[in-house]
Structures are given as C-alpha cells and as structure tokens.
C-alpha cells in the first residue's frame, strides 16, 4: 500500500510539473514582450508592458529573455513579438552596409527600419533620443586632475605618457567598432599593460573595477546610459569626432503583430521620445544602483510624466 502511495505521489508530482510547464499555452493571444538580459532592457520592456496594458492590449512578460543573439532569434522565430533594440545594432545585423550611416542617428534609424522590414518583416517604432553607445569613462579624480572631458583630451594625456589603465571586456579590445575605432579616430594606442581584460566583462564589472581602483585601474569601458556612472564617480568622455555608431533604443515588433495592433505606435511613441540620455541614466541607476524593481521604476516614471 505504501509503495503504491509513494508511486502515486511521485507520478502526480511529475504530471503537475508538466502541466505547469504547458500552462500559458492556448487562450487569447497576447503580445509577447521580450528584452535583453540587462538593466535597460528590463526598464524599456516594463515601460512597453505598462503602456500596452494600460491601453487594453493583452501582453505577456518575457523580459530578460537572453543575450542579443538569442532575443533576436526569438523575435525572428515568433517566440516573442516585440523587444527593445538599438539602432546601431543594424551595423551588426546587416553586414556590408556603409559604416558611416550608423554614426548618424536619423540615417541609422531610417536604414535599419527599412532593411529590417524588407528582409525580416520587422517594424521599428519611435526610438528614444539617448545614445547608449560604447564609451570610455574615467574616475572623476583623474578627470579633474588632468582636465579630461573629451577623447581628444584623453589622447593628448596618453601621448604625453600619462598614467592610465582601463578595465574592459575582450570584445571591447578586439571588436573593430570599439577600441580600435577610438584609437584610429583620436590617434592614441593602448599597450597591453594599460588594459585589464575581465573575462566575460560587462560594464557593471568594469565600472566597479575603476571605482574601486582594482589593480591600478582608473578608467572603464562603459555604455552611455549606464545608471551607475554618476553614483560611482565616473565621468564619460565625450566623442566629438563621432567615432562610434549611434545606439538609440526603439521597440521593434513583428509586422503581423503590428498590423493587428497598429495603435501601439502612438501609444509607445510619446514615452520613448521623452527618454533622453539623462533620463535613462537616472532610471537605470534606480534599478542597478538602488536595487528597485524595474517595473516599479517604469511605473513611477510613466505616472509622473502623465503617460499612464
């Protein structure tokens, strides 16, 4: 008897877990919103979810879906319907395009929107006017002492033999649009001793290394809209020569879903238009630095601004 009871208990457990897994399939088709596995992805996904839900459009939250390649594949295969992507990523998705196009915000948006609609049936909606591109940030101590504001200042400082060590990822060092582009555009060259390559390094780790001065590091690879920059006393050096592609975040959506709910363009546009560089930095900081829930941060912002 006990044998049978245990057997029944175990098989019920397994059946239940299978059912749990299948639940969610079927029923009315909601818009499945995904995002990359980072802070800004979560913030923008929650913004989109809250706005669509408020307008009475059914939604499903699949934010933090995975790294760029995975989210992109998920959108192309229909696993998700919508996620926030960056205009500059077009240079990566569509090889062989003119690299100059991606350094101009409007041209980059027009180009990626056209190419993605033609080849993949994907619609690009209104982007936010915030450039989340690769950047070099230095500690405010260094910036103040040496008067560093732009990458030109940095090049002059480096070429005069100034002390410098940057925490960065492997990709930042090797990927042509990152460090090599900065070096070519501003005329400086970093030696191996001036690079601290963190395995799998992301900007949260590189910025922390710079803020803590780990291993003599006084600079970090950063993204323009990173929330922790000001809190960690880091200063982003500006890019007056426009060496970097412009990365403006925009919701992108499969066209069949867009045609089912064309009103989403007008629902999302005002909020995205309102999110400039400082706004995104501030909101990202609330998530990454203060540890608030991305949904609460988005809700507070949208309510304050009167979008909800």
């Amino acid at each position: 008897m006990r044998t049978r009871k245990a057997f029944i208990a175990v098989s019920m457990l397994i059946t239940l877990s299978l059912l749990l897994g299948c639940a969610g399939a079927g029923g009315k088709e909601p818009i499945v919103v995904g995002s990359k596995i980072d802070t800004e992805g979560a913030l923008l996904a929650q913004t989109i979810l809250l706005l669509l839900d408020d307008a009475g459009i059914p939604v499903e939250d699949r934010s933090h879906f995975g790294p760029t390649d995975i989210v992109r594949k998920a959108l192309l295969s229909g696993e998700i319907d919508l996620y926030p992507e960056y205009t500059g990523s077009g240079a990566y998705f569509f090889e062989g395009t003119d690299p100059g196009i991606w350094k101009d915000a409007d041209a980059a948006y027009a180009e990626v929107a056209r190419l993605d609609l033609e080849t993949n049936n994907i619609v690009w909606l209104q982007p936010a006017p915030a450039n989340n591109t690769w950047a070099i940030a230095v500690t405010s101590t260094l910036a103040d002492a040496e008067g560093l504001e732009t990458l030109d200042d940095l090049a002059a400082y480096l070429n005069a033999g100034g002390e410098f060590k940057i925490a960065c990822s492997e990709e930042f060092v090797t990927s042509p649009p990152a460090l090599p582009t900065f070096q070519d555009a501003y005329g400086f060259e970093l030696t191996d001793d001036q690079l601290l390559v963190l395995a799998g390094g992301n900007t949260a780790q590189t910025e922390q290394a710079a803020a803590q001065g780990t291993d003599g590091v006084n600079a970090a690879m950063a993204y323009g809209t990173d929330g922790s920059l000001s809190a960690l006393n880091l200063v982003v050096l500006t890019d007056p020569r426009g060496a970097q592609p412009v990365y403006e975040p925009a919701p992108i959506v499969r066209s069949e879903v867009f045609e089912a709910y064309p009103e989403m363009a007008d629902i999302l546009a005002p909020a995205f238009e309102s999110m400039d560089l400082v706004t995104l930095q501030t909101l990202n900081a609330k998530i990454a630095f203060e540890g608030q829930d991305a949904r609460d941060v988005a809700l507070e912002y949208l309510t304050q601004q009167g979008f909800l």
């Binding site: 006990r2 044998t3 009871k5 245990a6 057997f7 208990a9 175990v10 457990l13 397994i14 877990s17 299978l18 749990l20 897994g21 399939a25 995904g34 596995i37 980072d38 802070t39 979560a42 699949r62 933090h64 879906f65 995975g66 790294p67 995975i70 989210v71 594949k73 998920a74 295969s77 229909g78 696993e79 998700i80 799998g200 992301n202 949260a204 780790q205 922390q208 803020a211 803590q212 922790s228 809190a231 960690l232 990454a288 630095f289 203060e290 540890g291 608030q292 829930d293 609460d296």
Partner: protein, 400 residues
C-alpha cells in the same frame, strides 16, 4: 604504558565530526559577520558580530559554541548528542536572526541606499550548526522525538523568523522583495523544466537501458552516445539545438504553433532530456544485469512466460537501482536548468545571470540558493520514495 593507552582510547571515543563543527563555529565568530556597502554596487566594509549586535549576544554565541566543543569530548554518547543537537538547533536560527537584527541597526545609521550583505561568518556559522545537527541526529536514532526536534526546530525557527520579517534588512531579502513576482514564475519554470525533462528522459532511457542489457549489439552504441552527450558542456548543447530547431520550425510552421522553436523552452527541454539519459540508462542496465539467476530460475520454475518474468521478477528487482538513476538525473537536471535562462527558457538562472550582469552579488545568491535548496529537496523526496518503492525483501540492501 597505561596512561598512553587511556589517552588514545579517549581520543577515539570523542566525536571528531562534532569537534570539527564546533571549531568551525568558533572560527565563524572571528570572521566578518556582515558587509555594509554604501550602495548596492559599492565595495563592502566588514562588520564583526560584536559591533553588529553587541558584546552580550556575541558572548552568548561564544559560550554556546564552547559548550558544543566540550560536548564533542563527552564520552557519554547520548548526553553528548543531546547537547550538540540543542546547540546546533539554537545556533542555526540565532546566526541568521543576529545577522538580520544587526543589519537593521547598521542600516539605521547608514546612507539611504546602503546595503548589508551576509558575510563569511554567517555562512560558516550556518555550516557549523548544520554539522552539529547532522552528527547529533545520527547519534539520536534511539530517541526519535528528540531527533525530530533537533532536525525540525531550526528549520521552523528560521522560516518563522523569515516570515515575521526579521531578515528584511539584509540585502538578500531586499533583492527578493524587488523580484518577488518574478521569483515565483521562474521557480515554477525551473521545477517544471528540470523535473519534466527527467520524466521524459525516463520514458526514453528505461527502454534504451533494457535494450542495452538484452542485446550485446545494442549495448556499445547506446552507451557511447549517452556518454558522449554527457561530456558536452551544457551551454554548447543548448547552442547546438538552436540552429536545427529554427530550421525545423520554419520548414513546418505547425511545429511553431505548438511551441517548438529555435529558442525558449523547446531547445532547453531537449538538451535536459539528453543529459538525463546516461544515469538512467546506466542504472537500468546494471539493475537488469544484476538480477540473480536464481530468482529468474525460480520464476521460470513457477511457469512464468518471458513477459511475466520481466514484469514480476526482473523489473521489481531492478526498480530500486533504476529509481536511483532517476534521482541522480533529477538532481543533475535541477543544476543544469540554471543555464537554460541564457536561451530564453527562464528558470532560476534568470536571477544569477541578471546578478552577474549588474555585478550584484546578492541577486546572484537569490538565484543560486534556491537552486541548491531545490536540489536538496528533490534528493530527499526521491530517496524517501525509493525506500518506499523497493520490494520489502530488498529494503535493507537498497539504501546503500
């Protein structure tokens, strides 16, 4: 040399495990208890137990750990076990509660976004308490009531203290509060992915193991394939699934309709099913091979047909080993599912990778600790079920 003999016998009588646990506990008092950070991402400043919660409480901790150390030398086995059990059962919740209250005091005096994380002292203290409880429970087999109290009191006390918000000022609890809704969703995803894959894996692996045991020709290829799969790193195996599944789902849109796509649940489930094969195939094979010829002869002598022999002699005798394979596969699967978050399948890995991305250690812990707990629970439940599933005649041997 009677004195020397006496000394060595006393040393052999003392409880080495308990001494180790008590020494570890004393060590924990010398380590930083908490780490206070000016913000979620800033570097931590170590805080010791004395400064976190005051000398009086720290003194009580010291005395209880010293009592446990003394009990380790006690030659009266039952008295020693009772003291060790009581010490461990009190120290485990006390350690966490002290950390929670200490965090509250520290945060009142700190900046608005300051965080207080549990540090080495708390973790070592918890491990040391667990060692005491474990050794006490083993020695208390003869006193079931006391034994159950020693095991369940700390679990209950820790849970009740948690529910009444005593830890709410620790950074770990704050991460949890910020992700509560998502946590339930990812936990249930994690459970259904890991156990669902093992359920499917069992349905495939048992016939494979049976085939391997019955036919010499099938044996080699089955084991070569199952072992090769096991050597592929999980992220790579997840990655391999994406391209063929995407192609399939494009070729047959019907597949996409039922949820088989290149990313998300389908590739994760398939990879996890593949991983679960080897332990179950192996144990089915060994289980069937080890059925004693005498039992088979007895069955044949009773006039059983081949299917009857399989159903009434072979499989019941092999069942404990097969179930043991399912248990191994399940525990392994609970861990493996963590990586599924990287291909869009969700699960508790979600918090681990998010935490890694933000360099927020407590968010990583929020994903990692439940994975460990889940693996332990699955292990315990399956062991219990296996003990009940075994044929009565085999029970004594089954639990090895």
């Amino acid at each position: 040399m009677p004195g020397q003999e006496d000394g060595s016998s006393r040393l052999s009588q003392c409880n080495c495990v308990a001494l180790f646990g008590a020494a570890l506990g004393l060590l924990s008092l010398g380590l930083p208890w908490l780490s206070i950070r000016s913000s979620r991402l800033a570097a931590g400043e170590p805080v010791w137990l004395v400064s976190a919660i005051g000398p009086l409480v720290a003194g009580i901790f010291l005395i209880v750990w010293l009592l446990a150390l003394r009990a380790g030398f006690d030659t009266n086995r039952e008295r020693s076990a009772a003291t060790l059990g009581a010490a461990g059962a009190l120290l485990a919740p006390a350690t966490l509660i002290a950390a929670g209250i200490g965090s509250k005091h520290l945060l009142e005096a700190a900046e608005p976004f300051a965080r207080s994380s549990l540090s080495a002292g708390v973790w070592i203290g918890l491990i040391a308490s667990y060692v005491l409880i474990h050794t006490a429970a083993r020695s208390l087999e003869g006193r079931p009531a006391l034994r159950q109290t020693v095991i369940w009191f700390p679990v209950l006390a820790i849970a009740i203290a948690g529910l009444s918000g005593l830890y709410s000022n620790t950074s770990l609890a704050q991460e949890f509060a910020g992700n509560e809704g998502r946590f339930i969703q990812e936990l249930s995803r994690h459970i259904s992915l890991s156990l669902g894959s093992v359920a499917i894996g069992t349905c495939i692996a048992v016939p494979l193991g049976t085939a391997a045991a019955r036919s010499k020709r099938a044996e080699r290829p089955i084991f070569v394939i199952a072992s090769t799969i096991e050597t592929i790193p999980s992220l790579a195996l997840f990655g391999f699934m994406i391209a063929p599944l995407s192609a399939l789902s494009y070729a047959y849109p019907a597949l996409r309709e039922i949820g088989i796509r290149g990313v998300g649940t389908a590739p994760a489930l398939i990879a996890l099913v593949l991983y679960s094969l080897l332990p179950i195939v192996h144990n089915t094979y060994v289980g069937l091979k080890e059925v004693s010829p005498a039992a088979m002869d007895a069955g044949r002598g009773m006039g059983m047909s081949r299917p009857q022999l399989a159903r009434r002699v072979e499989f019941p005798l092999a069942a404990p080993l097969i179930a043991e394979g399912v248990r191994t596969a399940s525990v392994q699967s609970v861990g493996g599912t963590t990586v599924a978050a990287l291909i869009g399948a969700g699960g508790l890995g979600h918090f681990i990778f998010q935490g890694l991305g933000q360099a927020a250690p407590d968010l990583i812990l929020m994903g990692a600790l439940p994975v460990i707990a889940l693996a332990l629970v699955v292990d315990i439940v399956m062991r219990w079920a296996i003990a009940r599933l075994s044929p009565k005649g085999l029970r004594a041997e089954a639990v090895t």
